[in-house]
């Protein structure tokens, strides 16, 4: 048998690759971002100079950054919608019925599709002469709300008033399968007898959903809500591929990305990302409180 000190050496040897890589690519960036936020950084020669909070003063007064923050907060609207929808869908696919695996798989397809590729199709869906308007036109004409010659021509991603909501629609489509799976795991932990007893007592589907399903998957709801709140604050790849920030769709992280890789102002980008990190940290603390209380 070995001594405990040799275990320590072995343990750290095994952990070394993970610790080194995480140190370079996860922990170092946090520190370096904080440093950069207070500097004027020049990408060409790698020099940086202290600038007396200039970046923070700038973004504090900048309209674009305010709008980006506002959009990021607006994106939180997607959280309750996606959670409720995911729970309902999980409930629908929780029964052992024919073809149920096919349904589950088809709901998961958006999750495993590359965001960039999915966005190309969705750009064609959202165009003013795209598929969404065609479908709406078809339905409204069938229902005789629109006359035969009239068409719906909403600029889903061209109109600054609705573009951010279209981005949220894309986020919803892309993410719902992921939460469905998490809820499915939660639902499968509910014993079947509970529901059967409620059926015998004459509870209808609506009552069973709110009085049994929701309370019993409450831990999963909490987890998923926090996950999707953080994800909603971090929305930006969808913006980058769908609208590229046009028509007032800047989100906080898209601002960071655009400042860094379109304006090459790394310092200002770092300052903005520090603000985002701060918000995420607050959420992390909330998360710990929630799950700390539970145990």
């Amino acid at each position: 048998m070995k001594t405990s000190s040799s275990y320590t050496a072995i343990a750290y040897l095994f952990l070394a690759p993970a610790l080194i890589l995480m140190g370079i690519f996860t922990f170092w960036p946090v520190g370096f971002n904080t440093y950069l936020a207070f500097q004027d950084y020049s990408l060409a020669d790698g020099t940086s100079t202290w600038n007396n909070f200039a970046h923070f003063k700038y973004i504090y007064g900048e309209e674009l950054f305010h709008q980006a923050i506002k959009n990021s907060l607006l994106c939180l609207l997607v959280v309750p919608v996606i959670q409720l929808a995911a729970l309902v869908v999980a409930k629908l696919v929780n029964d052992k019925l024919p073809f149920i695996t096919l349904f589950r798989a088809s709901y998961y397809i958006p999750v495993i599709t590359a965001v960039s590729i999915a966005a190309v199709v969705w750009t064609n869906v959202y165009k003013y002469d795209g598929m969404l308007n065609l479908v709406l036109t078809w339905f409204l004409q069938k229902l005789h709300i629109l006359a035969a010659g009239q068409v719906v021509d909403i600029q889903w991603i061209g109109d600054p008033k609705i573009a951010i909501f279209s981005v949220m629609g894309f986020v919803f489509w892309k993410g719902i399968g992921y939460y469905m799976v998490l809820y499915l795991a939660g639902l499968q932990a509910i014993p079947a007898e509970v529901e059967e007893a409620a059926v015998l007592d004459g509870a209808n589907a609506w009552q069973r959903f709110w009085k049994i399903t929701v309370p019993m998957v409450k831990p999963t709801i909490l987890l998923c809500t926090l996950l999707s709140t953080i994800a909603a604050l971090k929305i930006f790849q969808e913006v980058a591929v769908l609208t590229r920030g046009q028509s007032d769709t800047y989100t906080a992280l898209f601002y960071v990305y655009a400042q860094a890789f379109q304006n090459y102002n790394f310092g200002r980008a770092a300052a903005a990302s520090l603000v985002v990190t701060f918000f995420c940290m607050i959420l992390a603390v909330v998360q710990f409180r929630f799950f700390g209380d539970k145990k």
């Binding site: 095994f14 993970a18 790698g46 798989a105």
Partner: protein
């Protein structure tokens, strides 16, 4: 009794109606793309519902994708990058998971808490410092090359710096998810097995490689599958790191081509999209139980 059965049937019909409606919502972009890509006649693309049925069935758009776009180059890059990401993630996670699960050493709790804490950080903000880090890697490599008087056509800057496969995948190697998954898997292995190996004089490396890894194959498979899909679909970081067209993976290369000057024909765009998504879908068809059934372990 009869009314009860009737109610059951109506409920079932409603359930299937809901399921089908939602299926239409999640899959319509794909079916639209498929049907447009298979139609030689592009005049139905902007007609509903005709666009969802192939007209004039042919594979000509797929052939044109191969002719007009370096699709095979992108496919090769995606394969290389995904393969090495899997190797890297599994190796790093297995090695880190083992001591965290089975060895007692000072600092274990702290290290584990630190790794889990990275889940809270908005990893997207790392792109700026990591970009600079990789740029420095490239500069150091170039300096080393010069210092050692290596032939200038080696171009070591593009081995480890920006515009390298290495740079595009290395930040993904050490992830909290993988380490956590392997730690959980290793914790479930009976201690007797480890003790028996130790009594037989096995070293820690042998215990890990000969005892732990074979028993944990299902978890490693799950990690491999998740990593593959993530690596295959990774868009943002490769799009920032890579600047030469011949090193782009599918998710970036196809997107750039489809939104750039290439996007002259919607049929061509849709064909390229179908070709990009199909490999993932086939893979998903075989492994879907890992995605939509095997997550319970990760949630609990």
């Amino acid at each position: 009794m009869a009314s009860n059965t009737l109610r059951r049937i109506i409920g079932l019909i409603l359930q299937y109606a809901g399921l089908l409606a939602f299926m239409a919502f999640t899959t319509f972009p794909f079916f639209w793309a498929l049907s447009v890509a298979l139609s030689a006649d592009p005049s139905y693309i902007w007609l509903f519902p005709d666009a969802f049925v192939p007209h004039d069935f042919s594979f000509m758009w797929f052939k044109r994708v191969f002719a007009e776009m370096p699709f095979m180059v992108y496919l090769k890059n995606s394969t290389i990058m995904s393969f090495w990401t899997i190797i890297g993630v599994v190796a790093v996670s297995v090695m880190a998971g083992y001591p965290l699960a089975r060895l007692k050493f000072p600092g274990r709790g702290l290290i584990f808490a630190g790794i889990i804490a990275t889940l809270m950080l908005p990893s997207e903000t790392n792109i700026i410092p990591n970009f600079i880090t990789l740029k420095n890697f490239g500069m150091w490599a170039a300096a080393l090359q010069e210092h050692l008087h290596l032939p200038s056509d080696w171009n070591m800057r593009e081995w480890v710096g920006l515009n390298s496969y290495f740079g595009a995948i290395i930040p993904n190697f050490a992830g909290a998810f993988g380490i956590f998954l392997m730690k959980q898997a290793f914790e479930q292995i009976p201690q007797d097995l480890v003790d028996a190996a130790r009594v037989d004089g096995a070293t820690e490396l042998q215990i890990m490689w000969r005892v732990m890894v074979p028993v944990s194959i299902p978890s490693i498979a799950a990690l491999t599958i998740f990593t593959l899909v993530n690596a295959w679909n990774d868009y943002l970081w490769p799009s920032i790191v890579m600047n030469s067209k011949e090193k782009l993976p599918l998710a970036v290369g196809v997107f750039n081509d489809l939104t750039g000057p290439f996007a002259t024909s919607t049929s061509l765009v849709m064909a390229a999209i179908v070709m990009t998504v199909i490999p993932v879908l086939i893979f998903f068809a075989f492994t879907q139980r890992y995605f939509i059934g095997g997550l319970d372990g990760a949630v609990k």
